[in-house]
Amino acid sequence: MTSAFAGLPGFVEEKEGHGETTVIVERERLLEAARQLRDAEGFNFLADVTSADYLGWGEKGVSGYWGNAGGRDTNSPGSWGFASVPEPKSRRFAVSYHLLALRSEPKRVRLQVWCEDGDPVPSVVPVWPTADWHEREVYDLMGIVFDGHPNLVRILMPEDWAGHPLRKDYPIGGEPVRFSDED
């Protein structure tokens, strides 16, 4: 199985974890890799297209120590000290495609591409039509532009919204919590 994924166009790395296989390819060769996975390997079902923003990954220790969303330096005195800071990531964004070979012996794989802010990722709508709204959602909430998408407009936020809410530098919003003894 390892050899099958190593032959993918633009293959970078394959990782195993928790019983799942993640295959990382270069984003320029994504369409070819997707077609090969669909036609040759039989991954005919695209379950999900999702993205993650790794801005600030591990910079201030792990996120959320002592109730602080910004995190805390794990090496400073008085810290918990046992947790290890995670390895830094190569680029800021990761777009993951969860694929399933829908047949009597099913198989799942996660196809992943990494990109920086502003890098366009080829759209896989010609390969799996269901990617249409998934990619629109990723574009809307994370700001990753998909090249070749037939209709890349906002889907969840209002059309005139500015900013991409799921990015780590976008504030959570809402209203500040006021306590009863404050003014």
């Binding site: 936020m157 209002p158 809410p165 976008y170 504030p171 959570i172 919003g173 809402g174 209203e175 919590v177």
Partner: protein, 195 residues
């Protein structure tokens, strides 16, 4: 609402049908009969009669948004039976509805249609903010959810819960009826905002 020298007419109470608004016409049969009844029995006033009528068949608008809508639907079902309040007729058109039960979280994208629906309703109209999300944004204190619909529409009754049980919604509805029957004007009058 003067009770002293002049018997209140239906037009004073906010009723705005064509017949009532024709100022050159004298009071109709209903008004005269109620006025005579008041003088004889001295129990009910015209305002109380109108308020009683308004609260006994307050038709809600179908404005179910999220999970609270499911509990709102279950108040219509046989176990909780909204029909005993005369309210099972959920009107799809806001022009025909009296009560707007905002049930569910209001995203910013939805706040425009919400205000439009509210504007299309005719006076008198009431708003129940059902659930935590409609009352205050609920657990979603973030960029996407309107932190309480009372930011855009005047709310008469907040019903807490996530989602409120059907009994809780019925309590809110009954209290709204009591408010109306006590003569409290709808929230747009209390807050002096546009309807």
């Amino acid at each position: 609402m003067a009770v002293g020298d002049r018997t209140p007419r239906l037009a004073d109470l906010g009723i705005s049908s064509e017949r009532v608004l024709m100022k050159h016409k004298p009071p109709g049969v209903f008004e005269r009969e109620v006025a005579e009844l008041e003088q004889r029995v001295m129990l009910t006033t015209l305002e109380k009669a109108v308020a009683w009528a308004q609260s006994k068949s307050m038709w809600p608008d179908t404005f179910g948004l999220a999970c609270c809508a499911i509990e709102m639907m279950s108040t219509v079902t046989a176990r909780y039976d909204l029909a005993r309040f005369g309210m099972e007729a959920f009107r799809a058109s806001p022009r025909q509805a009296d009560l707007l039960i905002v049930s569910g979280r209001v995203a910013h994208k939805m706040s425009g249609p919400l205000r439009q629906i509210y504007d299309q309703m005719l006076e008198p109209k009431w708003v129940i903010a059902m659930g935590a999300c409609a009352s205050s944004g609920g657990m979603f204190n973030n960029y996407a959810v309107l932190q309480g619909v009372d930011r855009i529409v005047p709310v008469d009754m907040h019903v807490p819960g996530c989602p409120p049980r059907p009994e809780a919604l019925l309590e809110g509805i009954v209290r709204l009826h009591e408010k109306v029957q006590a003569g409290v004007p709808p929230a747009y009058e209390l807050r002096k905002v546009a309807t």
